[in-house]
């Protein structure tokens, strides 16, 4: 997959099959060869207004097609902090 951060607010986003972006990993388009990955990254990089810092990241495909982050860094980007924060009133 190709991931980046959204330019206006920095939110983690994933490149979709519709040549757009989604904040849900489940919407990410998955590629299986390095050529496909390079092409996808090229498209993503061309969208300099919508996204910042696109790069190719690994995923794990579960039985049934569920997409999971392929390493700890991407897990943290997708699922959020692994730590307890100080309680902040809502």
């Amino acid at each position: 997959m190709v991931t980046a951060n959204r330019t206006w607010d920095g939110v983690v986003i994933y490149r979709t099959a519709q040549q757009g972006w989604s904040a849900n990993l489940s919407d990410a388009v998955i590629v299986r060869t390095s050529d496909e990955a390079r092409t996808l990254l090229g498209e993503a990089t061309a969208d300099d207004v919508g996204a910042i810092g696109p790069y190719i990241a690994p995923v794990e495909l579960k039985d049934g097609g569920e997409i999971k982050p392929g390493n700890l860094r991407e897990h943290i980007r997708s699922e959020g902090l692994t730590i307890d924060l100080l309680p902040v009133p809502a």
Binding site: N5, T7, G53, L85, L86, V88
Partner: protein, 551 residues
């Protein structure tokens, strides 16, 4: 407190307007990210894992209550209700939106705070002792000199595109609380045999990938000449510093490669060649800056007021007083450290509500002034001793009276892989687990002074090299591992810690640290022998054996 003049206010406001326009052009696509990146970095805006991170400078660690409330407001209005105090007297907000950043900067500008040069290859925030101006035995307030350097180097065209970032720290006390020996330039203010005020100048210190302790380049530079001498160092660095390799670009590499003697000769030649370029500090200029610092109208108070005598019967108060309250230069007053290291929480974090509450307490008990130290704690610098019991109760109510200052749970930690795009491993969960392991305050007091510093990568934002115990996160085959060093220190006797052996997996770090501490308790020759002194006496072997014998 330092009162900004019209020039400062104009500069900050103009910068906000410029950045507002730059952000607008970036969001419209008029500026590409490549064009915008340097502009945002010069305003303290990084891109991290989850969002933009916004770093705000707290010059020489001094804040007014009004300024702290403004930081609280930024946390609440533009972020998620908290901020993170760093090891260089900055505060970072982790969830800020680019589109809202100009508004956040404008809010801060109203109280004289900015984010200029908190990133980029320029002169960063000039830091100092968080006890500046109140520490007993201090030569004079080092913030005057920090401010002179800040003014001179802010937006200085010659120093806006250095080979790499550049950090200066200043102390005026015998005990170094500003970690000057691990800065690009460290300045120690003292009076020479003739009674003249000047500086021992150290250069080439730093942590990161290639750590070095700073070396003395000039044992004494008169105060009036400090600006020109620092400028000469920067000019030599600007000319010879490596721009072709980011890993070799810091001044410490140049000093190391040339050798301190040759580097010093280059600087002296440059200094002579500069001649009189208007950088000699006239007495009136120094006094003008000095006059803009205001000091409280202290009362004449007893050394041991009745309120303190009565409170001494409460063991919980006494425990807090023992490690959080420090002598002040004025009789009847104390310096109070507010621990931002509660058990189970991220080191250095404070909620906006806590910041507001501290601002209120500063107004009531500390002449409206707050300090930030490189250990990621806050400090109230002017508390009357009679008010200590009331202050303690108020701090306890807001979770800021953890009695662990300088103890094993007073951990310095970088944001690590939970936030940082450079990190290889997490730092905060390690710190949180260690605070739980050593949560018993009796045990922590028994162990005594022990600084644990944690970094999530080799860039060393958590200063792991100079922790009594240093923990460095590395990545091995996709897993988090941690290298452990012991015997480092960041004070006037600064030295790098020694690696004890192979890296250990995430799940074993807390056990290993417990083993090291248990070994120390068994090996120290008396209760007063600090961990770091025991390591110096014994070397790393006994600790290494304890850790690896069963692993």
């Amino acid at each position: 407190m330092y009162a900004y003049d019209e020039l400062d206010r104009t500069l900050i406001n103009e910068r906000v307007s410029e950045f507002r326009d730059q952000v607008k052009r970036r969001l419209s696509g008029e500026l590409t990210e490549d064009e915008f990146k340097m502009l945002r970095l010069q305003n303290g805006v990084y891109l991290q894992l989850h969002a933009y991170m916004f770093r705000v400078a707290i010059p020489y660690g001094t804040l007014s209550s009004k300024q702290l409330r403004a930081l609280a407001r930024v946390g609440r209005r533009y972020d998620r209700g908290y901020g993170h105090f760093t090891t260089r007297q900055n505060i970072q907000f982790n969830w800020i939106k680019l589109a809202e950043l100009p508004d956040a900067l404008a809010d801060l500008a109203e109280v004289g705070i900015h984010a200029m040069q908190t990133s980029g290859n320029n002169m960063r925030n000039v830091t100092s002792d968080q006890w500046a101006g109140v520490a007993p035995g201090e030569v004079e307030d080092p913030r005057i000199w920090s401010e002179i350097l800040r003014q001179h180097t802010t937006l200085h065209p010659e120093f806006s595109f250095l080979p790499r970032k550049f950090k200066i720290a200043i102390t005026a006390s015998e005990h170094d609380r500003a970690a000057i020996k691990v800065h690009d330039i460290g300045l120690r203010l003292y009076k020479n045999a003739e009674g003249e005020t000047g500086f021992e100048v150290l250069v080439g210190g730093g942590l990161g990938r290639t750590p070095f302790i700073g070396k003395t380049i000039k044992p004494f530079v008169h105060g009036r000449d400090i600006l020109s001498y620092v400028e000469a160092i920067l000019r030599v660095y600007n000319q010879y510093g490596r721009r072709d390799n980011i890993y070799k670009a810091r001044i410490k590499i140049l000093v190391h490669e040339l050798g301190i003697e040759k580097f010093a000769r280059e600087v002296d030649d440059e200094w002579k060649q500069m001649g009189d370029v208007g950088l000699t500090l006239d007495h009136s200029v120094i006094e003008e800056v000095r006059s803009r610092f205001s000091y409280p109208a202290y009362e004449k108070l007893p050394h041991m007021p009745d309120e303190l005598k009565q409170a001494a019967h409460d063991p919980l108060f006494e425990r807090w007083r023992r490690n959080s309250v420090f002598p002040h230069k004025v009789q009847g007053y104390s310096i109070v450290t507010l621990s931002l290291k509660p058990v189970g929480a991220p080191p250095g974090d404070a909620t906006s509500d806590q910041m507001d509450a501290v601002a209120d307490l500063a107004d009531r008990y500390s002449f409206g002034e707050i300090r930030v130290g490189h250990e990621q704690n806050l400090c109230l610098p002017h508390v009357a001793k009679r008010d200590l019991p009331q202050l303690w109760k108020a701090l306890d109510r807001i979770g800021l009276a953890t009695p662990n200052v300088n103890l094993v749970t007073d951990i310095i930690a970088c944001p690590g892989l939970d936030y940082c795009s450079l990190a290889n491993a997490r730092s905060i969960p390690i710190a949180q687990e260690l605070t739980r392991r050593f949560a018993n305050h009796d045990t922590a007091e028994l162990i005594g002074r022990l600084h644990i510093n944690i970094s999530g990568c080799i860039n060393a934002c958590g200063h792991h090299h100079v922790g009594h115990i240093g923990i460095l996160g590395v990545e091995k085959n996709g897993e988090e591992y941690y290298q452990i060093t012991i015997g480092g220190r960041a004070d006037e006797g600064a030295q790098m810690g020694t690696l004890i052996g192979p890296a250990i997996p995430y799940a074993e770090v807390a056990d290993v640290i417990e083993d090291i501490v248990e070994a120390y308790l068994a090996l120290r020759d008396r209760p007063e022998e600090l961990f770091v002194d025991a390591v110096k006496r014994l070397g790393v072997e006994p600790f290494k054996e304890r850790v690896y014998a069963t692993r």
